[in-house]
């Protein structure tokens, strides 16, 4: 079998000490092949975002292994790691610097990594996410939510990563705007062979984007199923059934 692009093995994250300690993630394991989109769903507090934060190194105190192309990720994370793995955060209203022009925000990774052809790269990446090059000269408050999230995706793409971690990338957006952002993400994954790990509590979004889906509750992955099984409601765990039922309630009411 080929080495997966990303693999986590028995990952555990705990917050607090002693009796106040909370096991946020409890021995989670999954693998994501190259070019695959892997989804994690669960309610708030189930630990799904914590997994992504542990992978990027925002929570460094984890147990277990994070393997990138078969090699353990360095602790603390170094530059090479971020050239491979990038993350897009949930809220585009707080993830962009409010007093920096989009151009300055996008320039930063290029300067840190001493890349050439900076202007050309910025223009290209904006085009890739469906924004006109003029957007480089705007401030975040001059953009709509969907445009901001596109900028956040553009920033993650600048270093040409192989793996994109998406933490509820559209939950702060309207359905009509969400459709546009999801289309961009899908097109990029196909064109560049990116691997996605996408966290969401919206079953519809995950089903649309991902081919395999892990269901989390209380820090544990209770079930991993394919999107076909999800659509056909072939879930074995009671929690997954509840989740599917809650999301389908409105559909079946028609």
């Amino acid at each position: 079998m080929t080495t997966p692009s990303l693999e986590i093995v028995s990952l555990s994250v705990a917050f607090g000490h002693g009796r106040a300690s909370v096991q946020a993630v409890d021995k989670a394991s999954f693998r994501v092949a190259r070019g695959e989109a892997f989804g994690i769903i669960g309610e708030s507090g189930s630990g799904k975002s914590t997994i992504l934060r542990a992978i990027t190194g925002l929570h460094d105190g984890y147990d277990g292994d994070v393997l990138i192309n078969g090699n353990p990720a360095p602790r603390p994370r170094n530059r090479d790691f971020f050239k491979t793995v990038q993350m897009v955060f949930q809220d585009p209203y707080s993830s962009l610097h409010p007093r920096r022009m989009i151009r300055a925000t996008l320039m930063e990774p290029l300067e840190i990594y001493r890349l050439d052809r900076r202007e050309a790269r910025i223009a290209q990446v904006l085009l890739d996410v469906g924004l006109a090059p003029e957007f480089a000269y705007r401030y975040p408050h001059q953009l709509s939510g969907g445009q901001r999230q596109r900028v956040a995706v553009a920033r993650a793409l600048l270093l040409e990563p192989e793996i994109l971690l998406l933490d509820e990338p559209t939950s702060a957006l309207d359905v009509s705007v969400q459709a546009g952002v999801l289309n961009v993400l899908n097109a990029l994954r196909r064109a560049r062979g990116l691997s996605y790990v996408m966290v969401s509590h919206d079953l519809r979004v995950v089903a649309h984007m991902c081919s395999r889906i892990a269901v989390m509750t209380q820090g544990r992955i209770v079930e991993e199923l394919t999107v076909e099984d999800l659509r056909a409601q072939r879930a074995t765990q009671p929690y997954t059934r509840t989740l599917i039922a809650a999301s389908r309630a409105a559909v079946t009411a028609d």
Binding site: E43, S44, G145, D174, V175, S176, V177, Q178, A179, G180, L182, N183, N186, H201, D202, L203, R204, V205, A207, H208, V227, R231, T242, L243, A246, S247, R248, A249, A250, V251, A253, D254
Partner: protein
């Protein structure tokens, strides 16, 4: 015919901008009886502005005009600020999106609900306390005695929203405006909250306006739906007909939602036709 619960005719809201006034609402009209009315549309379509205009909660610089804005025949636009204070919370209640921001962080749950009761229905402390505990039970909070002493930060999202419903419905309002009451909550909790809201509103015989961008939710929950875009009502239809809508905007909005039953290659992004807006944008 008796007066409808709420009558809105040609309601307009405009904000001052660099070039005169710019319209947020361009003349919307509807009436509401004891029913559940949904207002859907994307951000900026004016759906929340409509709710706030009915409550007269818009900032003073907003210019609000209407041919009629009446609650059971009472003119809301002409009411004084003093009269509005009795109406807000008393006869019209508003449930907001996120209980974490809408509740007072420095007061216990019990104190907030009792305050709401004692302002609008003059009663003793003991009476208010009894009503408050009964109300918490009505919104299906399992252990009301314990929850009364909690502060908002100690509540989960679903519990906070129940508390807000209890607080808003305790003075028995005639009209409840719920502005995205479940969009800050998990899917698994959403259904329960809507059940509670539905049960309470029906028990009290109030009218409900549910403002949301979630089409399936609205079509499931409401009797009638107004679809808004650009400050105008695009289409009004019975909720169960939402999937057979005729207006291109409603159809596009429906199609932009990723389907759960089958795979689609690309989602449809709604495109806008300026001719939908019947009056020229200034």
């Amino acid at each position: 015919m008796t007066d409808p619960l709420l009558e809105v005719r040609n309601l307009r809201v405009a904000y001052p901008s660099a070039h005169g006034y710019s319209d947020a609402l361009r003349g919307i009209s509807f009436t509401l009886g004891r029913e559940k009315l949904g207002i859907v549309g994307e951000s900026g379509s004016g759906k929340s502005t409509a709710g706030r205009a009915i409550m007269r909660l818009l900032p003073p610089k907003a210019r609000v005009t209407a041919d009629a804005l009446r609650l059971s025949g009472f003119d809301l636009l002409g009411a004084s600020e003093r009269q509005m204070r009795d109406i807000r919370g008393g006869r019209i209640a508003m449930i907001l999106q996120d209980p974490r921001y809408a509740l007072n962080p420095l007061k216990t749950v019990g104190a907030q609900i009792m305050e709401s009761y004692r302002i609008h229905i003059k009663g003793s402390r003991a009476e208010a306390r009894d009503r408050m505990l009964a109300m918490l039970e009505d919104v299906r909070i399992r252990d009301p005695q314990r929850v009364t002493g909690l502060y908002p930060h100690e509540l989960s999202g679903g519990m906070g929203q129940r508390v807000m419903i209890a607080m808003m419905l305790i003075p028995s309002p005639k009209l409840v405006i719920a502005d995205e009451p479940t969009s800050a909550l998990d899917v698994t909790v959403r259904g329960q909250i809507l059940d509670v809201l539905n049960e309470r509103v029906e028990a009290q015989g109030a009218g409900l306006i549910l403002i949301s961008h979630d089409l399936p939710l609205v079509s499931d929950f409401c009797d009638r739906v107004l679809v808004m875009y650009g400050g105008q009502i695009m289409e009004e239809l019975a909720a169960h007909d939402l999937s057979q809508a005729s207006h291109p905007y409603t159809i596009a909005l429906n199609a932009s939602l990723p389907p759960l039953d089958h795979a689609v290659d690309e989602l449809i992004v709604p495109e806008y036709d300026p001719t939908w807006l019947t009056e020229a944008t200034e």
